[in-house]
Amino acid sequence: MKNDKANIISALRKDILALQGIRHDSNNSRLNKTIGILKNAFREKSFPVGVMHEFIVTGQENAAVTNGFVASIINPLMAESGPVIWVGCNTDVFPPALKAFGIAPEKIIFIELKKEKEILWVIEEALKCEGLAAVIGEIKELTFTQSRRLQLAVEKSKVTGFIIRNNPRAINITACATRWKITSLAGENLDGLPGVSFPRWNVDLLKVRNGNPAIWQIEYSAGRFKYNNKIAAIPQQLQQKTG
């Protein structure tokens, strides 16, 4: 009796999720391998694909870090399906560097436009195209209505959309499934070796539908996110004495 109830509830939950347009692909194991511990924040421990993700960016340094994070997620997506469209107003992405994230840069189609309206139109059209692995849109403002339109488009086509918002005036409510903020962290060298180490990021999942927001400090190396407890420890200078 008790089991029946639980089964019914879980079945209903699944239906609701489907209605909300959230899809959990059980076969995106490659992607889940890449993101490692981050998958715990999502329902069924699987990164949601076929939805809209929103990234908040402040400044040029931050933009590069966010691009890096997005690129590392796109890599497993591209391995399974087609090319990626990258739309923006002034995308000074350096294609050869994408190769370091395992992406074939020639498979990314860059579209550079001046007007935000045109960018939005292109993002929506691209999201409707089923053959694409992902669409990355760099845009400043995104209203709820606009985000709803994009979300409806991806629900049909099952393309994953990434909206990178550079210096938005206000962080408003959107229909996107997640909202992220990625910032850089000082790297740590193994055994005190000199030089610049692997990139380290502070990943802040501000908002997630059907999941738990969280903060991680991760290192990107060898094509995956490495979570280290040591990194997560609060730095010495920030520790406060209590009592």
Binding site: G68, E80, P105, E106, I109, E118, E125, C129
Partner: protein, 500 residues
């Protein structure tokens, strides 16, 4: 249907044209001359001059000693080709497919045309009369193959029309030069005493190939009709085109949409049947007042999907000025490709369907916002960062060199490096701190330098010494020093990119 070809040979095209322009030249010997190796040489001599013993290639001075009254004119290059192209266009009245043959003749594909004039004889008489009226001396040949028609026009003695199926008999008595061979081969044939075609036509083919090469056999086959030969018509036939005539002039957008839909459906049906796809389509709207309105679309990939093509046209319908109305719609597809190319995958993807989808998406975006805004990049074999990649000519371009992975590269690169203020110890240590956009960054970690030299064969300038640095906030930058430290302070520090 039995194919019929006509070859017309203009014996004195250039001189006849001179006479046509200036009738007073008709009874005087004259030549055309052009400078060659520092002296004037005769390029064309008219009939009267030839009777005096003046021939092509003779020095003009020599020709004038033979006949001191000889007139000469400058020979403009390509006169013959221009004249022949003009004539070929005029010949469209006789047949839709006319080609220029070298620089002294025309080739007409007269298949199924002669009966409109009441038979081949009347057809040729008409052509002959008209050319005679123009004043061009000429000779014909009409036969089942281009080779025979050409030979008969130039070397035939009795008749100019070779009855259908009799071309072999007509060829036999003709000299070897009638086969359109290279002079080397004809000379070799003549040396061996093979003066007429009949003297070697019976020889085994292997022997002929061994001694005279493949070309002789090919020309022989073409003349005999064993090998197909086509002519390159000056006006290529528009194979894929549809027209829609309207009872009443159309002056509404809706009307155009309906017309366009019908035309596209008809065209796409044909394309699908023949497994072809269009790359470019033109909709011509003939207005009542005689003007033609046109809209042109292009696609990235051969396409025969009428709905997609309709969408591409739809955006541009508003550019048509309707005025009093449109009475005729013509849809042309000038650029056609085989549809099998669709199966050629855009990128290595799991399903071919998405390729079509992507190509259609790019068509749509390109149609609305301009193709110049869409790029994808392929690697280029240069170390200089700005030149290490280039815009691909099309989205299907294959990469010829590998993307370089050996050195770290920033994910975002400034289009123009930004000048920064730096505190750096000499000689080549990385900077200790730098100021960018008014903010001071203290450098905690650094890698480098990586020297990249300017490519002197492309551009002058100093080398760059690149450093990857990380500041106290963990942000990673790509800095470089331009040039060596020197007394005149020609060096400078720049920020070029941001690492992830």
């Amino acid at each position: 249907m039995q194919r019929r070809f006509i070859s017309i040979w203009f014996c004195n095209l250039a001189t006849d044209w001179m006479v046509r322009r200036n009738p007073s030249l008709k009874d005087i010997p004259f030549v055309l001359a052009a400078p060659d190796h520092g002296k004037m040489k005769v390029t064309v001599a008219n009939q009267l001059a030839q009777q005096d013993g003046i021939y092509k290639g003779m020095a003009l001075a020599d020709a004038r000693t033979i006949n001191h009254t000889l007139q000469h004119f400058d020979d403009e290059p390509n006169t013959e080709i221009k004249l022949l192209t003009g004539l070929a266009e005029w010949f469209i009245r006789f047949t839709p497919s006319v080609a220029v043959d070298n620089n002294d003749g025309l080739l007409l594909d007269a298949t199924g045309c002669a009966h409109l004039w009441g038979g081949e004889k009347k057809y040729l008489t008409d052509i002959h009369k008209r050319l005679q009226h123009f004043g061009y001396s000429h000779k014909f040949g009409m036969a089942d193959t281009i080779g025979t028609a050409w030979a008969v026009a130039r070397f035939g003695k009795e008749t100019s029309i070779v009855e259908s199926g009799l071309h072999t008999t007509a060829l036999l008595p003709l000299p070897t030069t009638a086969l359109r061979l290279e002079t080397v081969i004809t000379e070799r044939l003549q040396k061996l005493g093979l003066v007429q075609i009949k003297s070697f036509i019976q020889m085994p083919r292997t022997a002929l190939r061994r001694r005279f090469g493949k070309e002789l056999l090919q020309r022989l086959d073409q003349a005999m009709g064993a090998e197909d030969e086509t002519i390159q018509s000056i006006i290529p036939a528009e194979l894929f085109y549809e027209r829609l005539l309207c009872m009443e002039p159309i002056a509404t957008r809706k009307g155009i949409e309906i017309a366009l839909e019908r035309l596209l459906d008809a065209l796409c049906n044909r394309l699908v049947k023949e497994e072809k796809g269009l790359r470019k389509a033109i909709l011509k709207c003939y207005r009542v007042d005689g003007k033609i309105e046109m809209i042109v679309i292009g696609t990235n990939h051969p396409n025969c999907n009428s709905k997609h093509l309709y969408k591409l046209f739809e955006d541009k319908i508003s550019t048509i000025t309707l005025a009093l109305g449109i009475e005729l719609f013509v849809l042309e597809a000038p650029v056609i490709e085989d549809l099998s190319a669709v199966q050629e995958k855009l990128f290595v993807t799991n399903n071919a369907v998405c390729d079509v989808g992507l190509a259609e998406l790019l068509d749509r975006i390109g149609g609305k916002i301009g193709v110049q805004n869409i790029h994808n990049y392929v690697p280029d074999a240069h170390y200089w960062p700005e030149r290490s990649f280039k815009v691909a000519t099309n989205i299907y371009e294959k990469i010829t060199t590998e993307w370089k992975l050996d050195k770290p590269r920033p994910l975002r690169l400034l289009k123009h490096p930004a000048a920064i203020e730096v505190t750096a110890p000499v000689p080549d240590y990385p900077p200790m701190n730098f100021r960018y956009k008014g903010k001071l960054h203290n450098i905690k970690k650094a890698d480098g330098p990586e020297r990249i030299e300017q490519e002197w064969w492309l551009q002058d300038g100093q080398h760059r010494d690149y450093y990857c640095v990380e500041d106290e906030e963990g942000c990673r930058y790509w800095l470089f020093r331009l040039g060596h430290y020197d007394v005149k302070k020609t060096y400078g520090w720049f920020l070029h990119g941001f690492f992830a």
